[in-house]
């Protein structure tokens, strides 16, 4: 599906998808937050009973719902979504495909990539994978190549391509002189 989006003059450079286990587990921080929230609920319920407070707006049912969402429903959702997640890097842009109901495809131009980084979390470390975050500027979009194998090499390739292609869009690299002696143009105002 995603390859159908590639233009005639566009060349595939890399394609991949997330590591299944790391993708389904997701970020360990969310589990920690869920557990802390549950502990908070439990404490409030305990205190409200101990203080014989007639009002008890919090109950353990809310905590169970949060635990179910974080520990069961979200991993199931990611397990289903994983089948459809696919990443492609071409010489013109980066494609990110996902979506359970319909195929959602996002195309990111190299000029939109800003300060990319590579992140290897606990699960990534165990699974020998990592995430390359593309941080597109001014788009408000989160574009990550999540939990991909060989993340450092993909990152290295992407940051080089980002600069090379962005620079070429502004001015053809093939026409550039070999040296840059700095910006030395003098400004002479008309007035």
């Amino acid at each position: 599906m995603i390859k159908d989006m590639i233009e005639p003059g566009e060349n595939l450079i890399w394609e991949g998808k997330p590591d299944k286990v790391a993708y389904i587990i997701g970020s360990p921080v969310q589990y920690l937050i869920a557990l802390l929230m549950t502990a908070g609920y439990a404490l409030i319920v305990y205190l409200s009973k101990t203080l014989e407070n007639s009002y008890s707006g919090f109950n353990i049912g809310s905590a169970i719902i949060i635990i179910l969402i974080i520990f069961v429903f979200m991993p199931i959702y990611r397990a289903i979504n994983w089948k459809y997640v696919q990443y492609i890097i071409t010489d013109k842009r980066i494609y990110l495909a996902s979506g359970i109901i319909g195929r959602d495809i996002a195309a990111l131009d190299y000029t939109a990539i800003s300060s990319p980084d590579v992140n290897v979390g606990l699960i990534d470390k165990l699974r020998n994978c990592g995430s390359v975050r593309l941080n597109p500027k001014n788009t408000g979009v989160r574009a990550n190549l999540s939990h991909i194998p060989d993340p450092y090499n993909v990152y290295k390739m992407l940051k080089q391509m980002s600069l090379d292609i962005k620079a070429d869009i502004y001015y053809p690299n093939i026409m550039r002189p070999g040296e840059n002696n700095g910006y030395n143009t003098k400004y002479t105002s008309k007035s």
């Binding site: 470390k125 290295k156 502004y170 002696n181 002479t188």
Partner: protein, 205 residues
């Protein structure tokens, strides 16, 4: 690790890492807040325990409440410095002729790059601990932005934190930013010597 990420024709211009003490201590005002919070919470805890004991009440609830109040102070005063101490070992900075690298990460090595074309309004900041340790931080963007109602918002701009000779590094960064950014847009070697202003007429069809 950073050097393994370099492009084939990329040259190292500067490298460094944060001053250990300044980096681990972090913002001094956070420590002061943590200290004040900790002492206030301890005093309150003491009063509550004494009052409850005198009244013969059950102490558990009050102790749980007061100890939970100590948690933010413990995080700011102990957990964050310990985290930064572990992170310091793996934090490295490098400036090349193409971009700026920041490496850190306790579990896995996390690397981020900022291209010169993406750097705007760099800043150098020397706080109290930096002054004592003779170091400072170079931010690759504004530290704060102000919204339409005048509220300051922290930007989380990438930064070379608590490095030695911060003013020299700042000078290097701001010069390289203009030189390389302008060269990316149009080669500096092909530019005329003078800029007589933008005089192009606009005639929409």
């Amino acid at each position: 690790m950073i050097k393994d990420m370099f492009d084939p024709d990329e040259n190292l211009i500067w490298e460094g890492k944060p001053d250990k003490t300044a980096y681990v201590v972090g913002p001094v005002f956070l420590l002061v807040i943590a200290g004040v919070f900790f002492i206030a919470s301890l005093l309150l805890l003491g009063f509550v325990v004494v009052a409850a004991a005198a009244g013969g009440e059950q102490l558990t609830i009050y102790v749980i409440l007061m100890v939970s109040q100590l948690i933010p102070a413990i995080i700011m005063g102990v957990a964050l410095p310990v985290y930064r101490l572990m992170n310091w070992k793996v934090t490295n900075y490098a400036i090349t002729n193409k971009r700026i690298y920041i490496e850190n990460g306790i579990i896995g090595r996390d690397i981020s790059v900022t291209e010169f074309a993406d750097i705007h309004n760099p800043q150098v900041n020397v706080d109290f601990m930096d002054k004592i340790r003779n170091c400072g931080s170079v931010y690759l963007g504004p530290r704060y932005v102000t919204d339409s109602e005048g509220r300051k918002m922290y930007t989380f701009a990438p930064a070379l934190l608590h490095i030695y000779e911060p003013y020299k590094v700042f000078e290097l960064v701001k010069k390289m930013t203009l030189d390389i950014r302008s060269d990316i847009y149009y080669p500096n070697a092909l530019r005329p010597e003078n800029n007589t202003g933008y005089n192009t007429n606009y005639h929409p069809e």
